[in-house]
Symmetry: C2
Subunit: 131 residues, 2 copies
DNA sequence: GCTTGACGTGGAGTGCGCTCGAAGGTCTTG
DNA sequence: CAAGACCTTCGAGCGCACTCCACGTCAAGC
C-alpha cells in the first residue's frame, strides 16, 4: 500500500499554485467561512495549508465549478464542521446539487445541439459559395 | 408543407411570456445592442415583436444559456446585422463558443463524478449506521 | 542595521447581468 | 371621463464572486 507523501505544510502561495486559485481567493474563502476550520498559522502568523486543507479546497473547487453558490458551499462546510451525526443532511445537500447539475447539463447540451445546427448551416452555405 | 401561422406581432409582455425572459430583460437586450435591429413600434410607441424577433431571441437565449457573455452575443449580432459576406466570421465565433462549451461540459462532468463518489460514501456510511 | 519580499489585515472596488424605480404617456373599459 | 393596466425612457441599484489596495509585520540575506 502506497501513500502519497504528505507535504510538510504549504504557504498560501504554494497552496494557490496547487489549487489553481489565487491567494486572494484563498483568503476570501477562509474569511467567508468556506473552510472547515480556520487555516493554521506559523509562528509569524502566516497561513500554513495542510493536506487536509488542500483536499477540502479541491472539494470546494468541484462544488463551485459545478455552479454551487458560495452560500450553499458554506452551508455544507458548516455541516461538515459540526462533525458526525448530520450525514443525511450533507447527503441531501449534495444530491440536490447533483440533480441541479444534471438538469443544467441536459439544458446546455440541448442548446448546444441547436447551436451546432446553426454551425452546420453556415458551413454548408460557405461550401456552396466557395465553389 | 405546413408553416407555423405567423403571429400578428406581440407586445413586450407577450414576448416575455413566450421567451421566458422578463420585459425588463427584453428592453435591456435591445438597449444593449443585442437585437438584430431595434424592435418595431406601434403607432403609440409600444414595442411590437415579430416572429423574426422571437426567433432571434431564442438564439440569444441559447447563446446566453450556454455561457456566452453579453458582449460576445453583441459581436455576433453586429456580424449578423451587417448582412451577407461575413459568414466565416460568424462561423468562427460559433465554433469557438462550441469548443468552450464542450470543454465546460467535460469539466463539469468530471467534477460531478467526484461529487457522485462523495455521495456514494455518505450513502454507504448511512446504510451501515442505519442497521 | 537595512533592504527585500512574502505575507498579514481591513476595507474598498470591479465586472457582469440583470432588476427596479420614478415620472409620465396611452389604451381600454365602465 | 376617470380608473387602471400597460407601456415609454433614463438612470440608479443589486447580488454575486471575486479582486485589489494601502499599509503594517516578519524573516532572511547582504
Amino acid at each position: 500500500m502506497t501513500t502519497i507523501a504528505p507535504t510538510a505544510g504549504l504557504s498560501i502561495a504554494e497552496a494557490a499554485e496547487r489549487t489553481g486559485l489565487t491567494t486572494h481567493t484563498l483568503r476570501y474563502y477562509e474569511r467567508d467561512g468556506l473552510m472547515l476550520h480556520g487555516v493554521g498559522r506559523s509562528s509569524s502568523g502566516h497561513r500554513v495549508y495542510t493536506d487536509v486543507d488542500l483536499a477540502w479546497i479541491t472539494m470546494l473547487t468541484r462544488l463551485r465549478a459545478t455552479g454551487m453558490p458560495i452560500r450553499e458551499v458554506r452551508s455544507y462546510a458548516v455541516l461538515c464542521r459540526e462533525g458526525d451525526g448530520n450525514e443525511s443532511e450533507r447527503l441531501a445537500l449534495l444530491q440536490a446539487h447533483r440533480a441541479r447539475v444534471l438538469a443544467q447539463l441536459a439544458e446546455v447540451t440541448e442548446h448546444l445541439g441547436a447551436i451546432d445546427n446553426k454551425i452546420g448551416i453556415y458551413q454548408s452555405r460557405l461550401e456552396t459559395a466557395g465553389v
